[in-house]
Amino acid sequence: TIAAAADLKFAMDEIVTAFKRANPADRVDVIYGSSGKFNTQIREGAPYDLFFSADIAYPRELAKEGLAASEVKPYAVGRIVLWSASRDATKMTLASLADPKVARIAIANPKHAPYGKRAEEALRSAGVWDKVQPKLVYGENIAQTAQFVQSGNAQAGIIALSLAVNPELAAKGGYALISDALHSPLEQGYVITRRAAGNPLARRFADYMGGKPARAVMVKYGFVLPGESAAK
């Protein structure tokens, strides 16, 4: 069983399908959810073998406490984009968020969502934080943030690139990639849990993630691979 950050949903589904085609005898279940929740649950003995976190800090923490059976490996770097459902976001910049016509801006909660934290950093670096802050609404996670924008209740939002390329969202408006210079890198990492120490399948799947087909899928769904830069 794999616990994967919600933003991996589409990419991971495709990777798992491919993996199963290659290894028909193996059974792989993926559960998507919030990385923080998985972190807590693994401490309390949740039966997850692999943990793909949206923030590499969580698996690192687990490893430090001896709950991991492998090193923490980065598998992707998340990027954030400015997105809108009601206007052409490709022409927008962070500065245009100060426009009074943009009444509400959705970001994920910077307190616990990694994408939200990067969004806040980017807004601060762009120097619009003070003007924009009263207009902010906070989503529980990046998906909810997207829904705020998608339903038209927020005119714009900062979401993950991986979500913005989703056909459901791409059909409306467009997105503008936010320079990764404006925020600290959002490293995503995975770890094999202690529970799966004797589970060869876990290791095989981890290895598969590092392989070429998997990497291609990741890129297709808007992830930037460690050491590479965003393909636009």
Partner: protein
């Protein structure tokens, strides 16, 4: 300080929300409960069931549908925009509307039960003593249904305090406007700020305990009929 300023703001906001929702539901739920308790129409069953339906959906999913409905493209949103009050999501009143919708069964069901057990006789007696139906309702039915109202209010109040799925979705977690305590505690937990979460939870529990205890103390002793 023991609690941060944000926590205090959230507490005040929560109590306001729960209080207002409970008050609105008392006004709104009572006639529905009355109708359900007294009607002989075949609609009683279906409508009774519909009242309980909001409970069946997961709160954040319900929140999502409400967000669509109340958004600028939804039917409720069209209506509120036509009224000139803009759209409701991300406002305190949006929270109120959503919570009212979600907590409706907690108000209606116990009150309906209380109404049903009163029976016809007290109403008949009141009528022979010149009380009009509305008069009777306030002077006989309401007092006799008091335990039902208390139960309903307790469930509604507590549930509104604890709800956060709908609230987060509709409210957008805006400090001092829609960031209620449940969301605040949730944030603390998600941010792994457990100490903070524990403190706030303890305060909420203690406070709610007192509120509930007061409600209980009011509760009249069971009556023999």
């Amino acid at each position: 300080m023991f609690l941060s300023e944000g926590d205090l703001g959230a507490i005040v906001l929560t109590l306001e929300l729960a209080g207002i929702v409970t008050a609105i539901l008392l006004v709104l739920g009572t006639p529905i409960a009355w109708w359900l308790a007294r009607t002989k129409s075949w609609l009683k069953g279906p409508l009774g069931a519909v009242v309980a339906l909001p409970l069946v959906l997961p709160p954040s999913v319900l929140g999502f549908y409400l967000l669509l409905a109340m958004g600028p493209h939804g039917p409720v949103g069209h209506f509120t925009q036509w009224l000139g009050i803009g759209t409701l999501p991300f406002t305190f009143w949006g929270l109120v509307v959503a919570s009212v919708f979600y907590s409706l069964p907690f108000m209606v069901q116990p009150v309906q039960n209380a109404f049903e057990t009163i029976g016809d006789r007290p109403l008949e007696v009141a009528a022979t003593l010149r009380a009009s139906p509305i008069d009777t309702f306030f002077t006989v039915v309401l007092p006799l249904a008091l335990p039902g109202f208390l139960t309903a209010s307790i469930l509604t109040f507590a549930h509104t305090v604890g709800e956060f799925g709908v609230v987060l979705m509709i409210g957008g977690n805006i400090p001092d406007e829609t960031r209620v305590v449940s969301v605040q505690i949730y944030d603390h937990v998600e941010a792994l700020a457990y100490g903070h979460a524990h403190r706030l939870s303890a305060v909420m529990l203690a406070f709610s305990f007192l509120v509930l205890l007061t409600l209980y103390a009011w509760r009249p002793n069971p009556k023999k009929h």
